[in-house]
Amino acid sequence: MEKQLALQLRGVTKHFGNKHANNQVDLDVYKGEILAILGENGSGKTTLMNMIAGIYYPDEGQILIDGKEAVIRSPKDAFDHGIGMIHQHFKLVDLFTAAENIVLGTRQEGRYSLRAVNAEVAEIVERYGFHLDPAKKVYDMSVSEKQTVEIIKVLYRGADILILDEPTAVLTPQEISRLFDVMRRMKEDGKSIIIITHKLNEVLEVSDRVTILRKGDHVATVNTRETDENQLTEMMVGRKVSLNIRRSEPVNAVPRIYVKDLNLYSSEGIHILKDLTFTVRSGEILGIAGIAGSGQRELLETIVGLHKPATGTITFINPKKDKPVTFFHKSLKRVKELAAQDAFHDRNMNPVSFQGMRNRDILKWVQSEDVLFREDEVIDLRDRTPLEIRQLGIRLSFVPEDRLGMGLVGSMDMTDNMMLRSYRKGHGIFLDRKKPQELAEQILRDLSVDTPGVSTPIRKLSGGNVQKVLVGREIAFTPKVFMAAYPVRGLDIKSSYMIYDLLNQQKEKGIAVIFVGEDLDVLLELCDRILVMNAGSMTGIVDARTTTKEEVGLMMTRTARRSGEAEE
């Protein structure tokens, strides 16, 4: 049977600033097929689809629907051409029922009757084998049900071309297989389905053809039946690009954090981190590789104390051996307790027990810095809040992915943002503003932040400068562990290299660095070891000096299916 073309793209190009998001992309979509768009993060998959769905308008090129050129300037135009896109972030009114959400915005003739809409929705549900109660409120729904509502919303408006943007990212394996069943039924019904994904096993399972994008370019389109994981990975990651990041050998690497059997569930009950066990070492950069949303972010947030893991331990080794005890973080009571446990010795290696001494004398002795720790401190970090961790004297620096959400306050200036780390210091009720201001000025100078001054609100700075402020503050905290999640996202090359250099400096100071990255080339050049994550599980730790991009790429994608099957 001759296949009919539903949608054609001819030489579609889109720039953001002077960056190519898509460059001369050609694409054909036939009726009754599932086309997968495969590519790494930032390869322009979503941008391309947004142009079909009317969110963006292409700078160059044509879009043809049923052979005729179409101008799609808004989502409404796309709907009129029978194109519907299901975004990763659902656009639903929580308070409404499924049916109310589906009918919202449609302009049909005649009286509005919710009962009639319910019946129509039930008919669509029936036809494609969805599982959905039209009268259920959205706020009672699981993620999968919300996605179903979004899909039906598109079908109800009579779409013939459905675009799904990473639909499986938030679903459980069972829900994914249900979604695939529905997609196959829609295909049999003559609809064209485009699925954006970077999961190879899903591509191979559900699609008829695969289009691979890399850095905005159309690399190839192949029939799914004639390809395999290795070929797809190769096309997806491309040739190795040399970066020349100065990487020193780790010096005197000793364990700093032990993570053992860590399991974390989201509030919706999704298993986010699965049995993670690894060690973070001082003077070393541990890279974390994985497709976006594999649990990297949650892993760091769990270590800094923002999530409560279900099981497992996080142990911090505080290098205290032969260092003086201070009252900076420990109360007299705690010092006495530790002394009773034989944790201290004096300069001559004699045990210190404070037996029969008055508090005043103990204070004096400790303050003379002659009381030393016998061993490194071992501290359990699990179930501690960030504040408790800080009060224990553990300095963890964290550069979160969401800079202006979690890291800095956009409407405050540099000084005030520095104070987010030191607001507890000062005299009585007054804040100490002087030191933060000095720090802000120092960061401004050392990292050459491009800003009119330390009193300019952070949100007026460019992304790279915001990141410099955040990284600078976290470094100034003289941490023992430095964690950075996607620290170069959205940064230009120069700023990115500055961040890499800062990470390397930290490492050379003997600090344990954890770096979550998305660019495999950078991970291979920058890190000492790379932990590869896949759907919340660890697929292995490799030596960054000997591994290849292909190996890491395969570890990121291939075993997803195995772990998925194991769960079912």
Binding site: D94, F96, L104, Y112
Partner: protein
């Protein structure tokens, strides 16, 4: 005339002021705009109506025409305020609370200026008979329920029906809950916000007009409208954003307000003159209690519209 019946009718009649005010505010809030300008808009509605009546009161026009022109005057004045509020908050995205408070201060001040220039003997006398329909012949009752009372009830019920049973209502609620979603499915968010704010303001303005011309029909009536505007906003929470429920809430408030004047008719309760001001406090005490009680609720349907008070800007992400 039975004292109890009089008490009942008076409470109902008084309550209609709140029915207008709250229904107007509910519509605005359903579009996601917290209009604290309602007290001022009610003042302006009253002033606008009285202004028109002052001009045509003695002109010898047929009564019905005078009534309709008076209502039109109230609507035009209050909807103009609503339009100003919409322009500031929807188009210019000024903070809604600040805009509303400014509008209230402005409206009540301007009303006092206008009202002090008008002649009560002109604007109050002409149309009185027509408001009294359909109980026009019952001259013995202290207050009778006139057409504006029944209009209030009809508007509240109609507003409830539109909100919950029609496509327009569905779209309006979507705009108040999640304007980005409404925008994405092709609903004209700005138009909905403008229209509902203006219509809501018009309805609230009728409340001020009703109170001056029909319920009190006295020269000093305008002085207390602003206070009743605030109570109307409080009633919105009591009514859980459901216009028909405001009828019940307004009746309760009407009872509380009327009881201080009616209590002297009952010989088995002895109230000294010193106690009467305490009784007049009752509605305000109950308002506070109602706010406390109604804020302890956990059903999602009984919460204010999710984006209430937040101005919508499409490019905001």
């Amino acid at each position: 005339m039975n004292v109890w019946l009089n008490f009942l009718i008076d409470s109902l009649a008084f309550g209609a002021t709140f029915v207008y005010g709250s229904t107007g505010e509910i519509l605005t809030e359903k579009a996601g705009h917290l209009n604290l300008g309602i007290p001022g808009i009610m003042c302006m509605g009253g002033a606008g109506g009285c202004l028109v009546l002052n001009m045509i009161g003695k002109s010898g026009l047929p009564g019905a025409v005078i009534v309709i022109l008076g209502i039109m005057g109230a609507l035009v004045m209050s909807m103009a305020c609503g339009l100003l509020y919409s322009f500031l908050t929807v188009t210019l995205r000024v903070n809604q609370n600040v805009t509303g408070l400014a509008l209230t201060t402005f409206g009540s001040g301007l009303m006092k200026v206008i009202m002090s220039k008008l002649k009560a003997t002109v604007y109050l006398t002409g149309p009185k008979f027509f408001y009294r329909w359909p109980f026009a012949d019952r001259q013995d009752s202290l207050h009778c329920l006139g057409i504006l009372f029944f209009l209030a009830i009809a508007i509240a019920i109609a507003a409830g029906w539109v909100l919950m049973r029609t496509r327009v209502g569905l779209h309006l609620r979507a705009v108040g809950e999640n304007p980005a979603t409404a925008d994405a499915v092709g609903i004209n968010v700005t138009r909905y916000k403008y229209l509902t704010t203006c219509i809501g303001s018009g309805i609230a303005g009728l409340g001020g007009f009703y109170y001056i011309i029909d319920y009190m029909a006295s020269q000093e009536a305008y002085l207390s409208i602003e206070a009743f505007g605030w109570l109307s906003i409080a009633l919105v929470i009591f009514a859980l954003w459901r216009p028909p429920v405001t009828i019940i809430g307004s009746f309760v408030f009407g009872v509380l307000f009327s009881c201080s004047s009616f209590i002297t008719h009952f010989d088995w309760i002895r109230v000294t003159m010193a106690n009467k001001p305490l009784l007049r406090m009752l509605p305000y005490v109950v308002t506070i209690l109602v706010l406390i009680i109604s804020s302890i609720r956990n059903k999602r349907e009984n919460q204010p519209p999710a984006s209430l008070g937040l101005n919508y800007f499409r490019e905001d992400r």
